[in-house]
């Protein structure tokens, strides 16, 4: 299988890349002025080389087995659109994980946001005024959930795992309550027209993903906000001593994740034309897998937006190649699992390198 080969070739490339950037990648927990790790940009490109190769190998596999069908514009757009929805959440999650936290609630909150945006009440208002009402509703639900997560974690001193697990449980239940467990079809034509069309031959939601990814990259690599996120994840105490308002920053990071969830809820609505309490089911696992495969350290302090984007694309292309070849869904799961383990093993190698 060529994806295995690609993954296998990754260590060589990545090791050299990392040793070249050893100073930047060192996670000095001891004398931790976390801001140092802001040079992580270079590191991310180095680490991502393995991912680029893996993606390339998958694409080659797709071309060999699917030929022109795989490369057709329609098919590429399907891959990109599928990647877009989970991709936007993953961008937000990259910030959360880099800050040393985790957000398990993304899938449930996305379900809740879609349901809330499609409740009869919201749709009636959207019909009377503007479809943007639905968009704002989805964003508001996402941000509110994110803020609540952040406040409970930062000021309530609850571990992120537990706080967002509670939100995972609660948001899904809430979504079931307000939907009565029924699928709600989007009946506001303006909404679907706006999000289901193409601009310059590329679907709107792919543009949205590109925008979010670019904005995320900029925020992560070129602003104080990004540097602080890395610092907080690398060494919280050092970050505090360096004058960062850690609690306030954490709240903002979770709110950002919530905002991304809200955006992806809008995208999901345009894809499926339906709000459902099952929307986003198990997305939290996909997202964590994507972010970790992308090279963000689960322990925090190091992250890469570019890697996350590659991670999303790898999973989307993989699914597509499997379906193109009419392969069993179980095989697909096995390969996905192998990719996750492989990526994490690589990552552990890097972190042990940098510790010595």
């Amino acid at each position: 299988m060529s994806e295995t080969t690609a993954a296998g070739s990754a260590p060589g490339t990545d090791t050299s890349a990392v040793s070249a950037q050893e100073p930047g990648s060192r996670r000095d927990r001891g004398n931790g002025n976390g801001k140092k790790t802001a040079t992580g940009t270079k590191l991310s490109l180095g680490h991502s080389l393995g991912l680029v190769l893996a993606l390339a190998a998958l694409v080659v596999l797709g071309i060999i087995t699917g030929g022109t069908r795989f490369l057709s514009v329609d098919n590429l757009m399907v891959i990109l659109q599928q990647a877009a929805v989970v991709g936007v959440i993953s961008i937000g999650a990259t910030f959360v994980i880099t800050s040393g936290g985790i957000d398990l609630s993304v899938g449930s909150v996305m379900g809740l946001a879609t349901i809330w945006a499609t409740t009869l009440g919201t749709q009636a208002i959207a019909m009377d005024f503007h479809w943007l009402i639905m968009v704002f509703t989805a964003l508001a639900v996402g941000v509110a959930a994110g803020l609540l997560n952040g406040i409970i974690i930062a000021y309530g001193k609850v571990v992120p795992f537990i706080a967002t697990l509670a939100m995972l449980v609660a948001a899904r239940g809430f979504a079931e309550l307000i939907s009565g467990r029924q699928t709600q079809i989007v009946s506001v034509p303006g909404f679907t027209n706006a999000f289901r069309r193409d601009i310059l031959g590329i679907p709107v939601i792919v543009w949205m993903f590109v925008l979010v990814a670019v904005a995320g990259w900029f925020l992560f690599n070129r602003t104080t906000f990004g540097r602080r996120t890395i610092a907080v994840g690398g060494n919280r105490e050092a970050a505090r001593l360096a004058g960062i308002k850690v609690n306030r920053h954490l709240v903002m990071v979770y709110a950002l994740s919530g905002l991304c969830v809200g955006i992806s809820a809008v995208m999901m609505l345009s894809r499926t034309t339906a709000g459902s309490s099952t929307n986003g089911y198990l997305y939290e696992l996909d997202v964590i897998a994507i972010v970790v495969v992308g090279g963000t350290l689960l322990a925090g302090g190091r992250g890469t937006i570019f890697g996350t984007v590659l991670g999303v694309l790898i999973f989307a292309v993989l699914t597509n190649v499997f379906v193109q070849n009419n392969l069993d869904s179980s095989v697909q799961s096995v390969v996905k699992g192998a990719i996750i383990v492989g990526a994490v093993l690589l990552q552990q190698r890097f972190s042990s390198h940098s510790r010595t």
């Binding site: 069908r69 508001a140 939100m167 239940g173 079809i185 894809r271």
Partner: protein, 350 residues
């Protein structure tokens, strides 16, 4: 139609209240989905069985899921409980935790109810406690997902997953029978569930009768989102399709969205389960959906009726036999434009 869906209502109420108060929200939950004809609008009880008997207490326990069909199941059972003045139906909170469901049954046994109706989350896991109930002299009616022992239930009411596949396959055969090279695609539910395997097996065998086979097969997960994603990829993999069978109408909403996205309509589609949504598509006559095979959401409602008869020690109307039957398997009819009027009123909203 078993699904593995997380289910956590009690905590939800608490935290969701907090969410509400956090107040970013523009509408009132109560405005949501006034429709509640979901499934099993209780028909008039037939024959002698409708006559009031002695008062009985029936316990009902079912799984919980964010799924139209399961919602309809529970509502149907409740409606039957209200229907009869001689029945007090105790409905335990739906759960996807077998451990919790076992406790619910234990509670019913301790309360010495007159009969128990169970749609187990997992039939095998609930077999032992159901056997205990039977040994305690409480008749158990098993719905939809079968216990692994015949001693665990007095009466079993089953849907027909294999039959759904057969009905869908036969319909497709009727439409395409003379085209040997026709491309047939299948969008399954959760592949690891026995019910999905049964449906696929029935489908395959019915197709092979007319010389057709499944050319492209993908599995989704009974959700709208899963259906959309699986169908979008499938449509790319197969540039020309003649017929699609989609196992589940809840995921069908997503499948239809993907079909619309891809701008394809060279094929016809057969649904599964029989949601009101899909039936309206069929009724419209403009959709690629030509038919759907029903998997009745009225099984638990029937379970309550039979449990009542068992508890009252009565026979079933329209049978000469003086006992309630051991097993009833429901039929999986094909709903098309010709007979949709007949099925739509009882269909569940997905």
């Amino acid at each position: 139609m078993s699904r593995i869906t997380p289910r956590y209502l009690s905590v939800a109420a608490l935290i969701s209240a907090t969410l509400l108060v956090s107040g970013c929200l523009s509408n009132d939950p109560e405005e949501v989905e006034a429709e509640d004809d979901a499934g099993a609008a209780a028909a008039e009880p037939a024959g002698d069985n409708a006559e009031a008997g002695e008062d009985v207490v029936i316990g009902f326990s079912g799984p919980a899921a964010g799924h139209g069909w399961i919602g309809a199941i529970t509502e149907g059972a409740q409606n039957q409980g209200d229907e009869f003045d001689d029945v007090e139906l105790r409905v335990s909170e739906g759960t996807d935790d077998v451990n919790e469901q076992i406790s619910h049954i234990e509670q019913f046994i301790n309360d010495e109810v007159d009969a128990i109706v169970v749609l187990p989350f997992d039939g095998a896991a609930l077999t032992e406690i159901a056997t205990e109930a039977m040994e305690a002299g409480i008749p158990v009616v098993n719905v939809d997902r079968e216990f692994s022992s015949p001693f665990a239930a007095r009466t079993t009411i089953l849907g027909d997953n294999y039959g759904m596949g057969v009905s869908a396959g036969e319909y497709i055969c009727e439409q395409l029978g003379d085209q040997e090279d026709a491309v047939v695609a299948e969008i399954a539910g959760i592949d690891s569930l026995p019910l999905t395997q049964d449906r696929s097996e029935g489908f395959e065998e019915a197709l092979s009768d007319c010389g057709l086979e499944v050319d492209n097969r993908v599995a989704a997960d009974f959700t709208v989102q899963g259906g959309e994603s699986a169908a979008a990829n499938l449509l790319q993999a197969a540039p020309e399709i003649d017929a699609i069978w989609n196992h589940d109408d809840d995921q069908g909403v997503g499948v239809l969205a993907a079909i619309e996205n891809a701008g394809r309509d060279e094929f016809f589609m057969v649904g599964g389960a029989g949601s009101a949504n899909m039936m309206r598509e069929i009724e419209s006559g403009e959709s690629v959906v030509e038919a759907t095979v029903v998997y009745p959401a009225t099984q638990a409602a029937d379970g309550v009726r039979l449990a009542r008869l068992l508890a009252q020690d009565r026979a079933m109307g329209d049978l000469v036999q003086i006992e309630v039957p051991r097993e009833i398997q429901l039929y999986a009819p094909v709903v098309t434009a010709d007979n949709v009027d007949q099925y739509l009123p009882n269909a569940f909203e997905s």
